[in-house]
């Protein structure tokens, strides 16, 4: 038994010893050297075209990236002009006062025409686009005077309870904050009155225009 085992051991050992050099031989660098790529002495038109295309692509990508970085660093505020002084204005936006400084590159437009800072007036409603150099200082790239809106449509979303529905008249009365309010349906509404029932709670998107309330969207809660 032991003899057999020893025989087997010697056999396997010799096989391993034989196998090692074979492996080494196989790994030895006997392969023929690969062909070196041929480089043409004179650049072809195709190469020039490719180079030009790459250059064009690079510059286009560069300008796109610059534009993207520029856009990300820009801020835009809407407000009313409070003060005007040499080269600077201040605006009130969302109850905050911002100092807006301008340069000769700042584009100022009023009533669709290019203007100067002198063309601006106190209480003008403006859009200021520029860089926020401090928390309340904007270096303006663009100042645009926009018209004051007169007929504002107020859109809101509220939770309401349906008090009554008149499918023929296409009206309904909603209870909002314990107050009953009549609603018509707005022009572009998606409300299906036949699917609604009194006492249902709905999430409603409403519009108020010239004192009249209308319903534009309704979702049963």
């Amino acid at each position: 038994m032991i003899k057999n085992f020893l025989k087997l051991f010697y056999l396997s050992s010799s096989l391993i010893i034989l196998a090692i050099p074979t492996y080494i031989y196989a790994a030895s660098p006997t392969a023929t050297p690969s062909a070196t790529p041929k480089v043409s002495a004179t650049p072809t038109n195709l190469e020039d075209k490719i180079k030009n295309l790459v250059k064009e692509n690079l510059s286009a990508t560069e300008s796109n990236l610059k534009e993207s970085i520029n856009l990300k660093s820009l801020v835009g505020y809407v407000g009313a002009i409070k003060t005007i002084s040499a080269g600077n204005i201040s605006i009130e936006s969302d109850q905050n006062i911002f100092q807006v400084s301008t340069t000769d590159k700042t584009a100022i437009t009023k009533s669709g025409t290019t203007g100067k800072i002198s063309s601006l007036a106190i209480t003008d409603k403006v859009i200021v686009i520029g860089n926020l150099v401090k928390e309340d200082i904007i270096q303006a790239k663009m100042i645009k005077v926009i018209p004051e809106e007169t007929d504002i449509v107020e859109t809101n979303a509220v939770i309401a309870n349906i008090y009554s529905i008149d499918i023929k008249k296409k009206t309904l009365v909603l209870t909002i904050n314990k107050v009953q309010m009549p609603f018509t349906l707005s022009k572009k509404n998606t409300v299906k009155l036949e699917e609604l029932k009194p006492n249902q709670n709905i999430f409603a998107i409403t519009k108020k225009y010239q004192g009249k309330d209308s319903l534009t969207r309704a979702k049963i809660l």
Partner: protein, 125 residues
């Protein structure tokens, strides 16, 4: 960025529900943690400037609630995912845009948030 904000929010605002009172039967109580996410608009940023005429509004809100998205050109309902995220394709009007999101919570209360975005085609160098 969105993922980081989401993760930070989840960690910073965990609210343990009333269900977390230890049960008499259980020797080792396992509190149920309900993540209540505050209403937030992730994109676009407030006071940002965009050249695109439409964009994807993204935000976080109470999971499984509904939000109403109100813009100058659109008003729509959007369902909030169980993870508390929502998104909606919105159009931007030229000039100033106010984007308002109103959340109708499961407890029938509303919460809202507004941002301002400027859309312009030209920006001087």
């Amino acid at each position: 960025m969105f993922g980081i904000n989401l993760a930070n929010n989840s960690v910073s605002n965990p609210v343990i529900s009333e269900d977390s009172t230890p049960s008499a039967k259980n020797t080792t109580p396992t509190p149920t943690v309900i993540i209540k996410k505050s209403l937030e608009i992730i994109f676009p940023q407030d006071h940002s400037v965009m050249t695109e005429t439409s964009t994807t509004l993204r935000g976080i809100a109470e999971p499984n609630s509904t939000v109403a998205v109100i813009t100058e050109l659109n008003d729509l309902f959007v369902d909030v995912s169980p993870e508390g995220t929502f998104s909606a394709q919105i159009d931007l009007a030229s000039g100033a845009n106010t984007i308002k999101v109103v959340q109708a919570g499961i407890d029938n209360t509303t919460k809202d948030i507004s941002i301002s975005v400027i859309q312009t085609n030209t920006i001087s160098e």
